[in-house]
Amino acid sequence: MHEMGIALEIIEIVRSSIPESVKRPRVERVHLKIGRLSAVVTDSLRFCFEVASEETPLAGAELVVDEIPVEAQCNDCGHRWTIDEPVFVCASCRGGSLTLLSGRELDVHSFQLIDEENDHAH
């Protein structure tokens, strides 16, 4: 439900990272890393991104989403495992104190940029 806000932030992050030397920027792809524990619905995000990116250098850009699994480490026995089911108890010693190593990501990793001015020059 907050995907529109997320989409706008993504657009802002990418826009502000485009070097000023690029005269006619067009973003082809944006790579995101989204942890499985993040409260983001990817389909909603794509829809919001499509709408919000209109008339920006990101219009028509593809969102490539890397889904990051939830990795945990037990604070008692050190066991590391991937959480696939909503069970946050150590699979080895049944301890309940654990550190989440991944799964909460909501990151813009990189984007693919074209300068259309250069493209036309060739």
Partner: protein, 259 residues
Amino acid sequence: MPIELFLCPKARHHKEGHPHHHPHTKGPSTATRTSGGREIRVVRRVLDVNDRMAARNRELFAEKNVFVLNLMSSPGSGKTTTLERTLERLVPEIRCGVIVGDICTTADADRLAVSGAPVVQVNTDEFGGDCHLAAHVIENALENFDLEALDLLIVENVGNLVCPAEFDIGEDRRVVVLSVTEGEDKPLKYPLMFRECDAALLNKVDLLPHLDFDADLAEANIWQIHPDMPVFRTSAKTGEGLDAWIGWIRDRMREKTGA
């Protein structure tokens, strides 16, 4: 109250004194040529701006010695009634303030104002109803409080078990309210919320005799997601369990402020 700040990072950057067109990468951007363009590495959290604002709120709360609770739940869990009963027991001994997030009415704020605590209503209807309170909304709402005159600030978040869990607002502790008229499996369906919270209220227990709800199973599900999390069985209607809940708030406040 207008809710545009989260959606308008430019304005904030100016406020923070940053020049406008700078890359936000932490290190230098690396650009490599690939077919049909170049790849620009960014590696930045999407909620970075919110997180930084939340950190700023947290610093301010620490400086003013205000303990902040973020109260979350699905709609209709009895959050507002619980808060009314909580304020009755805390005010005036503890100087409380409340921020209420609601999509478009002031009904909750009106109810809570009876307690005598200052209440600030934040409506999130500008874009058809925002689903959570973000850090900048709290920062804006703080202009209506004298923080020097507060010991405890309770934020009643928008009724929703998904989005609020994602947004740090600078709070000290997060609490989720689950009512027995919902399913026992709610914790399993909304694991992030139950992972992120520090305590849970299992509310409306006065209704248990009339329902098939298995309170033990609900608790077991909470602990499957967040082992050892304190769970308080409460009834805002009869007052059952509220003493333990309020004792928990006082203990956490003491931990922070040493008072």
